[in-house]
């Protein structure tokens, strides 16, 4: 189906005309499901459940797009009897399809720890890396002078090109129907989500839409309220409305909600900035792509034209695809700080208008001026947002001060004396669902089949949202296929660290990933994301049904062969009287030198392979120790805790431990050991109590 006719389809669906047609042509549940017992016992399958789709994703942000994409990877389109056209399996419901994949804050993907997340999403067959590479206008590896484990690939994007790339990719998938509608309610039958009630934008008719799995990604839209000074506007993003009914719906379903705040800086008009007078901030000379699939040569199994065609023109072109740009640096000044101090009484975070917690790692400029009063200046990066506009993002001065104050403070920065503001900075408050109510699959504990991903779980950042989208999308699809739940461990991926932190910690601020959160940081590197996760994606079957997946499989095979060959060489070939591996360990060989030496020894390998070998050799002893550590803890880490256990009856546990367990209901002893309020002794005691409860349970 061409993009154009698909567009026609979703507009058609948006008017609700197709729905009745779809509902009337429901097949009975897939045959395959009949034989096996559902792996997730909380899910009660209705034999004749109406099913329009197999997965419904609500929201088209970074979490929603990735969730729909991941689900589509596992749910090939279904061919109906008597119809040539395959039917979509995934519905992506969003208020405005033109806003799918937009970047409402910093137009950049990756960075420290976030770059690792993007590489992991990519290794699992995700879309974020592809869209980022296709729209990157400045690539830079952060911490490039440091070790491989703490390098973070990052790119700044043309924000319009990025959203278009995401939309093209989504539209290239026959598995996904895009539906422009608002969601009025979640349909819950026998404790399980079985669909949603949607209302098309221009219509008053509420229509039910059914699927055995629903992924909810509300971003900042749930009761979103934007602040600029004392001006309050309901909405999740500038110029858009808020989702007003969803909070109440979730509360009705028994969820405990919280409220968070985030903010964004003003955007300036580049033509009004004295651009050339400011110091230049350049990207890397040789850009490093975020996806394994960008910047590789044509393979025998697939031509670039075929790939271009099958991905709506996003993948398969030269890298970098877009013209690269320069950024500029400026800074705040004491005069500017004075302006801010003089107007603090008009800043919502100090007037008490905003009560919810914002991120400590991303403070507003008024926050910085108050908390670090002794600093005369803070750095500010001026980052062009797009090649096709003159909008500039002011990285470093997020603010919710009134518009007139923003004018003053922007003009107090060097080079910005005559700057015009395109859009004022604002803070946004929004509802979240406290994440102790989900488990590490993103599925909620109280309502089976309902998955939450992204900012709704209290995280911040496009990459964190997308990572949860992958987890939710995969698990939603697996639920629809009656397969077991799928999770990643803390020792496998940053995604695993993220999910584990969400289900064991009480968020006090929007959660952002840092490399220091990963205790196995030396193993979880950007360079080896494919080695860690692509085999898992293959096991899942996520790479089987698309050209992209097949191409990824092929490239990964090449990589594995190159790694195997070079690993033998690196241990044997000599450099100055020691093995290559030894020379790397002693820091005597750079990646390029290692690559050259491998080439000389007759096992040439691509740069990414050499980078992985270099990191493996450099960290060898440390990695061995971490692996031993992981192995030692593995049995306790993965040992499950029964879902039926009533912690309130375990009287011998300390009250604090009992309450933490009852609230979080961890699914493994590993999770339990990381709960706040549990000591190692509590966990030991818990193992005994659970064993006993299991015996009683079995005999009862």
């Amino acid at each position: 189906m061409s993009p154009r006719s698909r567009e026609g389809l979703y507009l058609h669906i948006a008017r609700g005309a197709l729905l009745t047609h779809i509902i009337s042509s429901i097949e009975p549940l897939a045959q395959a499901r009949g034989q096996r017992k559902p792996a997730i016992p909380t899910r009660a399958y209705h034999p004749r459940v109406r099913q329009n789709y197999r997965v419904i994703v609500i929201g088209g942000g970074h979490a929603g797009a990735e969730a729909a994409w991941a689900a589509a990877n596992l749910l090939p389109p279904q061919t109906r009897r008597g119809s040539a056209e395959p039917r979509a399996t995934v519905a992506l419901v969003t208020l405005d399809p033109a806003k799918i994949g937009v970047m409402p804050c910093n137009p950049a993907i990756g960075g420290l720890a976030k770059g690792q997340l993007v590489r992991e999403i990519d290794a699992l067959g995700g879309l974020m890396g592809l869209a980022a590479d296709a729209s990157g206008i400045q690539f830079k590896v952060l911490n490039a002078s440091r070790g491989a484990a703490v390098r973070g690939p990052r790119c700044q994007n043309d924000k319009h090109a990025y959203a278009e790339a995401v939309q093209s990719l989504i539209r290239s998938r026959p598995e996904i129907d895009i539906i422009a509608a608002s969601v009025e309610d979640i349909i819950v039958e026998r404790g399980c989500a079985t669909g949603v009630v949607i209302k098309a934008a221009a219509s008053d008719d509420a229509t039910p839409l059914h699927a055995p799995a629903v992924v909810l990604t509300t971003g900042t839209f749930m009761r979103g309220l934007m602040h600029t000074g004392r001006t309050k506007t309901p909405g999740g993003r500038h110029g858009e409305g808020a989702a007003t009914g969803m909070s109440a719906c979730l509360q009705r379903l028994g969820f405990e909600l919280g409220r968070l705040k985030t903010g964004t800086p003003p955007r300036l008009d580049r033509t009004t900035i004295d651009w050339d007078s400011l110091p230049v901030a350049l990207g890397d000379e040789t850009p490093t792509p975020l996806s394994e699939l960008s910047a590789v040569e044509e393979g025998p199994a697939l031509t670039l034209e075929a790939l271009l065609e099958s991905t709506g023109g996003v993948v398969g072109e030269r890298f970098p695809k877009m013209q690269q740009i320069e950024c500029r640096q400026t800074n705040t000044t004491p005069e500017m700080h004075e302006v801010i101090r003089a107007n603090l009484h008009r800043a919502p975070i100090y007037t008490g208008d905003i009560k919810s917690a914002g991120p400590r790692y991303c403070p507003s400029i008024e926050d910085k001026v108050v908390r670090f009063a002794d600093r005369p200046t803070h750095g500010v990066f001026l980052e062009p947002e797009s090649l096709r506009s003159n909008w500039v993002y002011c990285n470093g001065i997020a603010t919710s001060l009134p518009a007139d104050v923003q004018e003053l403070l922007v003009r107090a920065m060097p080079g910005c004396e005559r700057a015009e503001i395109h859009r004022y900075g604002y803070a946004v408050e929004y509802d979240m669902v406290r994440p102790h109510q989900i488990n590490a699959t993103c599925m909620t504990k109280p309502v089976g089949g309902l998955f939450l991903a992204g900012q709704i779980n209290g995280t911040s950042g496009y990459e964190e949202a997308a990572a949860q989208g992958v987890v939710a999308g995969i698990n939603a699809a697996r639920l629809a296929r009656s397969e077991r739940e799928w999770t990643l461990g803390r020792d496998q991926a940053y995604i695993g660290v993220l999910m584990d932190d969400l289900v064991t910690k009480t968020p006090v601020e929007p959660y952002r990933m840092f490399t220091s959160r990963a205790e196995h940081r030396l193993l979880l590197r950007a360079d080896n994301a494919a080695d860690r996760l692509t085999p898992l994606a293959r096991e899942l079957g996520a790479l089987d049904s698309t050209d992209l997946g097949r191409w990824r499989t092929q490239l990964f095979g090449d990589r594995e062969r190159a790694l195997t060959a070079a690993r033998t060489t690196i241990a044997r070939a000599q450099h100055d009287g020691v093995s290559l591996a030894h020379a790397v360990r002693q820091d005597r060989l750079s990646i390029d030198q290692l690559r050259q030496a491998l080439d000389d020894a007759g096992t040439p390998c691509p740069l990414p392979v050499a980078a992985t070998l270099h990191a493996e050799a450099r960290y060898e002893g440390y990695i061995r120790r971490q692996c031993a550590d992981i192995k030692r803890r593995a049995s306790e880490e993965r040992r499950t805790l029964p879902a039926w256990i009533d912690y309130r009856t375990l009287g011998s546990l300390r009250t604090e431990a009992r309450e933490a367990l009852a609230r979080f209901r961890p699914t493994t002893f590993g999770q339990a050991s990381r709960l706040e309020g549990l000591t190692p002794a509590d966990v030991t005691l818990l193992t005994v109590l659970v064993d006993r409860a299991r015996k009683n349970h079995a005999s009862a």
């Binding site: 011998s652 006993r692 009683n696």
Partner: protein, 471 residues
């Protein structure tokens, strides 16, 4: 779910059960205290005590042992304000080992009561939030302190003072880790100035030296990391080797009817997990019989080896088939706990009181237990006795508790040493901060084994408190 018999379990295994143990040193004494803790205390109190009482505080009366009354003083504590945080009962009895043993057995006959594992009372106090982990370990250490240095260290531990020392280290290391992590995770923030390698090395060195000092001069040394040495001693042909083999469950030592068969000191590890809880083991030594008249090369060498081993003993099992137990004490420090075992209990003996296996109070004292190693009669009691004296040995449970600390602090110091080697103090920035952080994190984790986990959030929190982060 009931397992048969009153078997000791690991500390903290299930605190729905009531535990009982003799709280004073084994052997004869004027008074002995038996302590109970747990929910069945009330039942035990009303079924074993006359007149029936359940008052808090001190009370005089009789305890019923085998249906016969025996005068006793009872001290009743009510949870959660008691030492263990549970209902407790302390019974002061005449210090007769057999009487005490029979009373403990009578307690175990009450539903829900079993023998306590070593340290289990303190473990409960800990689990019930009455003691911090380091304090709980300190209590055990005070009881077992061998020297005045040990005692001082143990008291520091019990009062939480040592905990404060550990906490200071953990605090400094967490701060340093935060400074390093800031230089990794927030390097794109110009406000973040990574810590200078020179400063880092100095501050790390300070902590490491303190750790080394502590583990050298203080308590940690008494723990050599080896299980306590328990020596089987007695006259030649006293049946020591037979008992040794029976305890080990295999024929390790040559056994013969002639006296003086054993010529070498044999040391084997004896696991006492069943008798006393997980992880408890002793080194059990079989000695050549002590014979002052031995002459001649080999025999004399054997005597010297035996005496040398006896000097090192943490506890002694005195074997005497006659049940007289004379002559050995002179060679052994009075501080070394001793279990008097009447061996060869199948043989008739003039000293043996009928049926009880209990010797009359002769000059040398009487047996704590009679055993027949050949058919295994009362072997379990001997095992329990050995566990008991080993734990009460000077430094015994001090070693158990403090060895853990020493081990963890040793590990932390080790990790820090490796970290220091990674740092080039002349450099302007750390060359491999991720490796330095890795080592520092293992040191922090080791301390966390004593103090409770230090999480990445603790570290990140310090970054935000220190730096203006955020673009």
């Amino acid at each position: 779910m009931h397992t048969p018999g009153p078997q000791p379990r690991p500390p903290g295994a299930t605190i729905a059960e009531t535990i009982v143990a003799c709280a004073t040193a084994p052997g004869r004494s004027g008074r002995t205290i038996v302590r109970l803790s747990g929910p069945a205390v009330e039942t035990a109190c009303s079924s074993l005590f006359q007149p029936a009482t359940n008052r808090r505080g001190v009370c005089r009366g009789d305890v019923l042992i085998g249906g016969r009354p025996c005068p006793a003083i009872v001290l009743r504590g009510v949870g959660p304000a008691s030492y263990t945080g549970e209902d407790t009962l302390e019974v002061v009895l005449p210090g007769n080992p057999d009487l005490v043993e029979r009373f403990v057995e009578a307690c175990c006959a009450v539903a829900g009561v079993r023998r306590a594992g070593p340290g289990e009372f303190s473990a409960r106090a800990y689990l019930n939030g009455r003691l911090a982990l380091d304090e709980a370990e300190g209590v055990a250490a005070v009881i077992a302190a061998r020297t005045s240095d040990d005692l001082a260290a143990a008291q520091q531990l019990a009062s939480g003072e040592l905990g404060r020392v550990y906490r200071d280290w953990a605090d400094e290391l967490t701060t340093l880790l935060a400074l390093i992590e800031a230089g990794i995770d927030f390097v794109d923030q110009e406000d973040v100035v990574p810590i200078l390698p020179r400063d880092l090395q100095q501050r790390l060195g300070r902590v490491r030296r303190e750790m080394a000092e502590r583990s050298k001069g203080g308590i940690a040394e008494s723990a050599e990391g080896l299980p306590p040495l328990v020596v089987l001693a007695g006259a030649p042909n006293a049946g020591k080797s037979t008992l040794f083999n029976a305890l080990l469950g295999r024929a390790r030592s040559v056994v013969a009817a002639e006296s003086g068969t054993t010529r070498d000191v044999l040391i084997e590890t004896l696991a006492l997990e069943e008798a006393a809880g997980p992880g408890l083991a002793v080194r059990l030594a079989d000695l050549p019989g002590l014979d002052a008249d031995a002459t001649g090369g080999a025999a004399q060498a054997a005597q010297e080896a035996a005496i040398e081993t006896l000097d090192r003993a943490d506890a002694v099992v005195y074997c005497d088939p006659q049940g007289r137990f004379v002559g050995l004490e002179t060679g052994i420090s009075s501080r070394v706990p001793m279990l008097r075992v009447q061996t060869k209990a199948d043989l008739p003996s003039a000293a043996l009181l009928e049926g009880t296996g209990h010797a009359p109070g002769t000059a040398g004292g009487s047996s704590d237990v009679a055993v027949c190693a050949l058919d295994g009669w009362r072997l379990d009691v001997v095992r329990r006795g050995i566990a008991d004296i080993a734990l009460r040995a000077p430094g015994g449970s001090c070693a158990v508790a403090l060895a853990r600390h020493a081990r963890e602090i040793g590990r932390a110091a080790c990790a820090l040493e490796a970290v220091e080697a990674e740092i080039d103090p002349t450099a302007r920035a750390l060359d491999a901060p991720e490796l330095v952080a890795d080592g520092l994190r293992s040191a922090v984790d080791s301390l966390g084994q004593i103090l409770g986990r230090i999480t990445p959030d603790d570290v990140i929190g310090r970054v935000f408190a220190t730096f203006c982060v955020g673009k």
